[in-house]
């Protein structure tokens, strides 16, 4: 007799079947999103290292104890014991050297991968860098240092994808771990302050900027801080402050930020625009777009979208456009 098809209880109701059958322990994990930050933070924790040195020392002691136990054997038997224990010792040493070499090779491979990600970020190949970071951080890192470097790059990728909340989580995590040198920590704090501004956490950003200023930065760090402060001024409508600050910081921004000086020129163009100084705004916008395309500047700072169409950018030759 044919069984009538019941949409609720019939064999074709997948939802019903999945509720009725308990999941198998070997079932694949639920799919996660791309660059799932909480997952990557926990999955990338390095495993405890294998205590190879203790195994080696234990083995040595064992061999020596066995050799001493059999030392009472006379004549050719004693010679055989000596040779055998010597060979065992040499074998142990060779095993330790081979295991260490293999471990070094694996660390070096991850190091090369992370260096490659750094290069991809510099070349602005964001999608490839994101893919590699997602894979790298989905498994325990070989060393804590490599993991931290991967997380720093992850923060940069997330900021690029305008996921500033996630970027803040990553920056906070790395800073809380206290696993980076003072210069790197300063750079991370700058990135965190910029992400706060983009997320409109203005009070937090202001506090973060005050802390950064207290550290008395020099060189590239000072130029980075100047950029964050300029953005804060533009974002909070203090156009006068932005113009005054720009005149003061232009030399260090030019010296240390290279083509990223375009950001400062773009922000001051917006400040001039707010103040109604259109000639100055036009000149600053021309310099900004001379160093970086207008579309890139607007992506970094949405406030600059208001300048597009109002002022002429610098046009690159056709091959460069």
């Amino acid at each position: 007799m044919a069984v009538p098809f019941n949409p609720l209880f019939g064999p074709y109701n997948a939802g019903f079947v999945s509720q009725a059958v308990p999941p198998s322990p070997a079932a694949p994990p639920a799919p996660r999103g791309f660059l799932d930050v909480p997952y990557l933070l926990s999955a990338s924790e390095p495993r405890r290292p294998v205590p190879r040195l203790w195994f080696f020392l234990g083995g040595m002691l064992l061999v020596m104890a066995s050799s001493a136990a059999f030392s009472g054997v006379a004549g050719s038997g004693r010679l055989a014991v000596e040779i055998f224990s010597g060979m065992l010792m040499a074998g142990l040493m060779a095993a330790v050297v081979a295991a260490s070499a293999a471990a070094v090779r694996r660390v070096r491979a991850q190091q090369e991968l992370i260096e490659g990600v750094g290069e991809l970020l510099q070349l602005r190949r964001w999608a490839e860098a994101a893919g590699q970071l997602d894979r790298f951080l989905s498994a325990p890192a070989r060393t804590a240092g490599l993991r931290v470097q991967g997380l720093i790059y992850l923060g940069a990728v997330l900021a690029r994808y305008q996921r500033f909340g996630d970027a803040l989580t990553v920056y906070e995590h790395v800073l809380a771990a206290d696993a980076v040198d003072a210069g790197t920590a300063y750079g991370l704090r700058l990135g965190r302050a910029m992400a706060m501004l983009r997320e409109d956490h203005l009070v937090d950003a202001d506090r973060a900027i005050s802390e950064l200023k207290r550290a008395g930065p020099t060189g590239t760090a000072a130029a980075g801080l100047a950029l964050v402060e300029l953005y804060r001024d533009v974002k909070t409508g203090h156009a006068d402050d932005a113009v005054t600050r720009f005149a003061k910081v232009l030399p260090i921004v030019r010296q240390h930020l290279g083509h990223r000086a375009s950001d400062a020129w773009g922000l001051v163009a917006r400040a001039y625009d707010v103040l109604g100084r259109t000639a100055d705004a036009a000149a600053a916008y021309r310099t900004a777009t001379l160093l970086a395309p207008a579309v890139e500047l607007s992506r970094r700072y949405p406030e600059l979208l208001k300048l597009e169409g109002r002022y002429e950018p610098t046009y690159a030759p056709p091959e460069a456009a």
């Binding site: 001493a68 040493m93 005149a247 083509h259 600053a284 001379l290 610098t314 460069a320």
Partner: protein, 279 residues
């Protein structure tokens, strides 16, 4: 201050000593295995071998400590703290190390320091001394930076032929991005000196995009030299755009002072700034 000749002779002496100590340790390990059963039955081979192992480990530990002595020197050189860098490098060169790579790296750092101090001939001599040694697997990563530094030092010292030889060795090698950037800067500089204008304008946009990733002075100089190439090949639109970009990065007067050839882009460079003035 460490003289170039004494640094090189100290390196050679230490490399020989290191090789001798390593050879002795290997001999001692073999002797620990073979001799006690035949000549001194009261001595355990395992204990003798362990003794050799302990000496080896102690020397390795000491060598690893030496490698950290000059690890910060590139950062110090970049920050212009030459005296501290010199002290660190001198300490690394003066301490015994079992590893060739540690000694060679210290000498490379000394070459970097001399380049930073604008003592280009010393930098070239030191780089050549590094490259003349058998680098082996551990020190192989030094080969490309040392060759790039040699090319750069030769160019700064005005030895165009020597720079060409150094650059030629790098052709076709797989380089990291920072090495690519250094090679490009040196290559553009070299080609501008020999007047290879057509070659300079080849794949110009790739060169410009890479120049954007360089440090400010290198980015400005590279783009300015490309601008000269475009001017010489009658592409004034590209030349003007590149010259304006270079001027937005570095004062043209400073660029002209470094490379007088660039005066053709900014004839009155010393007299006025090309960057828009800010009020």
């Amino acid at each position: 201050m460490l003289s170039t000749a004494s640094a090189i002779s100290r390196l050679r002496r230490d490399l020989t000593l290191g090789a001798l100590v390593k050879g002795l340790l290997v001999l001692a390990a073999v002797a620990a295995l073979v001799l006690p059963p035949m000549l001194a039955p009261q001595v355990h081979s395992a204990a003798a071998l362990m003794g050799v192992g302990v000496v080896w480990l102690a020397l390795t530990y000491n060598s690893a400590k030496t490698s950290r002595l000059s690890a910060d020197s590139p950062a110090l050189i970049a920050a212009g703290e030459y005296d501290r860098a010199e002290a660190q490098i001198a300490a690394a060169l003066g301490t015994f190390s079992l590893f060739r790579a540690v000694k060679l790296q210290a000498l490379h750092h000394l070459a970097l320091l001399r380049y930073g101090q604008k003592r280009y001939e010393d930098a070239a001599t030191l780089s050549r001394a590094v490259l003349n040694q058998r680098l082996g697997t551990a020190a192989a990563p030094l080969a490309k930076p040392a060759r790039l530094l040699l090319a750069d030092s030769m160019l700064e010292a005005g030895d165009v032929r020597g720079a060409y030889d150094a650059l030629r060795e790098l052709a076709g090698q797989r380089l990291s991005l920072p090495e690519v950037l250094k090679l490009l800067a040196a290559q553009v500089d070299y080609e501008s000196r020999v007047g290879a204008w057509d070659r300079l304008t080849h794949e110009a946009m790739t060169k410009v995009q890479l120049a954007e990733l360089m440090s400010t002075p290198a980015a400005a100089r590279t783009q300015a030299l490309l601008a000269v190439a475009f001017r010489r090949t009658n592409r004034s639109d590209f030349a003007d755009w590149l010259a304006a970009r270079a001027a937005a990065l570095v004062d043209p007067a400073a660029l002209v002072a470094e490379r007088p050839l660039l005066a053709e882009l900014w004839p009155a460079a010393g007299a006025r700034s090309v960057v828009p003035s800010i009020t």
